[in-house]
């Protein structure tokens, strides 16, 4: 199962979803992306949500580096292969998680 958890206060999830859909298409997969909106600090705690967006494949966060950050309604920090900061995971992270 592929889950994309997001917080509406961060504008990054549509871009993350589009990239994820593109990677899935390239890999010839037609998995459904289960979208879950996180609306409160309590939900963030309950869902172990370290920021928006968070993508999990079969329950495993595709970005181990940030997976255990404090649950929070925030934009999540990712790092691209060249070490630049990004508000969404890299294509490479998605591909690695889905292969």
């Amino acid at each position: 199962m592929i889950e994309l958890l997001y917080w509406q206060g961060c504008p990054s999830h549509p871009e993350a979803k589009a990239l994820l859909e593109g990677v899935l298409a390239e890999l010839g997969r037609d998995d459904e992306i289960v979208m879950t909106e996180v609306k409160s600090d309590e939900e963030a705690e309950r869902l172990h949500f370290p920021g928006s967006p968070t993508i999990r494949v079969d329950g495993r966060d595709i970005d181990a580096r940030g997976a255990n950050e404090r649950p929070s309604l925030t934009c999540r920090i990712y790092y691209l292969p060249d070490a630049r900061v990004s508000p969404i995971p890299s294509r490479e992270q998605m591909e690695a998680a889905l292969k």
Binding site: G9, C10, P11, S12, D41, S72, T74, C75, R76, I77, Y78, R84, V85, S86, P87
Partner: protein
Amino acid sequence: MSIELGTEAPSFQLPSVDGSDHSLDDYRDAKLLALVQYCNHCPYVLAWEGRLIALAGDYAGKGLQVVALNSNDAARYPEDSFERMKERAEQLDFPFDYLYDESQSLARTLGAERTPEVFLFDWERRLRYHGAIDDSRDVDAVSRSYLREAIDALLAGQEPPVTETESVGCTVKWR
């Protein structure tokens, strides 16, 4: 609702990471003043941070003063505390002032909504450009450098080619 173009810069007196308080009047010698709603924790701020540092350095001798403002609720976002601001500024040797708007009053007066979000004031301290630093958080995809274009135009005595753009970033974290 953000302040409208032509609005006079609001007065303020806020603590800086340099250990002193800074007021609007402290920047009276600058031809242009860029107030940038800012913070530590937001990936959009971090994505643009290198460009803002470069811009502040490039125009420092040309009359531009960049002032970053952090108004986020540090109780909920500890990364944005005053202590962490000091650490960030020291770590990256910010070439601009970094002020702590703990009461959030300046952000509310400006009508700031996002980080990063730019308010560029001219020599009369009237708002002349409001919005994004440029048109992409991805430095390799930038095609319009709105803030640089506005600064260049104003320094040349001309109208900024673009005066308002949408700021893309994290929301200001209100109490």
